[in-house]
């Protein structure tokens, strides 16, 4: 039985980490003067360039015959399984920087949950989206 395996790239994960870093810095600037809140935001900024990219880069997608499995995280690990026939949509987001590096954010929609997989190779994401649009049947 043929399966598809994908992993997130370090470059893609680092770009998403940069977004979080920028947002945290902005919040720290806006919340300056609110007691301990700027400190918390700086902590978030530090985690955005250290722990977050490592966490996102550990994502592994496995598309089997009946379900899609996402494994993520080394210290705090999460496994999510979704039945292929109930995946209602699959979208690909890419910013200019991500297009330059050939990565994207893959969004998988089911009835109950929306799953974001940042840092996936664009070619892999397109292949998976095409596969899912054919009802999960490998061609």
């Amino acid at each position: 039985m043929e399966v598809m395996n994908f992993t997130a790239t370090r470059r893609g994960a680092a770009i998403v980490g940069l977004w979080a870093f920028g947002a945290s810095c902005l919040m720290a600037y806006l919340l300056a003067g609110f007691a301990w809140l700027p400190g918390l935001m700086w902590l978030c900024a530090a985690l955005s360039v250290t722990a977050l990219p490592a966490y996102l880069a550990s994502a592994q997608l496995r598309c089997g015959a009946h379900h899609l499995t996402l494994r993520r995280g080394r210290v705090l690990s999460t496994v999510r399984r979704m039945p292929l026939r109930f995946i209602t949509g699959c979208s690909i987001w890419a910013t200019p920087l991500q297009r330059m590096t050939g990565t994207c954010v893959l969004v998988v929609h089911t009835s109950g949950v929306t799953t974001l997989v940042p840092g996936v190779r664009r070619s892999d994401a397109e292949r998976l989206a095409a596969h899912l649009s054919q009802g999960g049947v490998l061609r």
Binding site: H67, L76, T78, V79, R80, R81, T110, S111, V113
Partner: protein
Amino acid sequence: MSGQFHPLHALRYLRYGFVLCLVPMVQALLAFDLESLAVALRQDAAILIVCCALAAVLWRSTWFSVEGDAVCAREGVFLLSSHRYASKSISAVEISRPLHCRMLGASNVTIYFKSRGARRKVVLCLPRRAAAEAAQALLPVRDDTSVFAPMGFERFALVMLSANLLTGCVFVYLGARRLTEWLGQPVRDKALENFTRLESLLASVLPAGLALATAALFVLIAAAFLVSLLHTAGFRVCRNGGVIISRGGLLTKLERRILVSAVTSADVRVTPVARLLRRRPVYVTAGSYRGGDLPLMVCRVEARRAPQALVPDYAPADGSLCVPARKSLPQYLWKPGSALAASLALCGAALWTVPGVLPVLYIPLIASLACCAVSAEGYFAEGVRRNENRTLSVTYTRFFTRHEVCVLTPDVSYEMFRHPVAVNQGRCDFTVRLPCGVRCRARGVLFCEADRLPLLY
């Protein structure tokens, strides 16, 4: 049947007008003189007139028709939006008729879908007959034979399990009588004395106005509970032609139609009141429909298969769903235990400094104790298992309630979360996500079993 929406539909456009009216009033409040108030009132009147005119135009552009097994609706003037809601995509229909709608002959029809897309539900305000026809077209029912029509003690149990205000009042009354016997003086005076102290404490701790807002919030919550009490009047549930119908309500007449084949889960909630009454309320979710505020039926503790009268595929969780020896007790007890420790610390501090406040502090102490007991029970009961009839049983606890959920749909996703200690001991937190967005999280499930658990087909 076709026509325009009920004129009450236009009211939903007016609410934006009311929000706009706040702007001149805020300006008048800042200026704080009579002249500004007069100007603001004139501006508000102008805004409301314009909004009324716009709402009338928008209402004129609405249109609906009931065609076979579908309902078509059209709205908008410049941006025209047409929708066709076919019965094959619908899991539940709810017709609510609040008092003001009944006086004006309108009904609110809420349509829930089997799979949750961009919109979870759609609300249409239709004339009464059109609403009934639309419901009949979408989820047809020929005759209704009652499956659950509570009378006598069953009715009492349903009211107690549905309306928290009444339950609270009965328990407070009984508790007050017992306290009066113990204290030898009326509890009312004691309670008033403590309430005044609590009020002054809130006023000193919270910023000005927030204490008043807190009091207003409590009044609103009490009013909401009273409304839920009125919903249970004349309540009965029927099943016919693959559709579950529940009807009831005193001021707000409520009719819910749920497609049996679209039922995604049946949730038996073991609340503290349910334990006392030895009854179990059963809630049902179907597609994007989350079950509402009323249980579909209330069954005895012994009658574990009673929900099968409504949902034939329902299977209760038989036997143990977990291996408690492999679980972590601190994982279950750290939250209620922390609350209990904080309550005890508060009681200890109050005992030395302000003993008068002590009776008030017993409330969080008792609540956290009860929460600890329920969590300890969860240590032995929480788990997940696949049943013989290909359904999934998930038992989990949240606050004071134990949920015994039977998942009937294959449209779910599983999630397993592990931290390093859990990895070392081979367990995980297992979460099932239902199409309506409800999450059922069982803690301390063996990872090898959870990872092998097949998705329902």
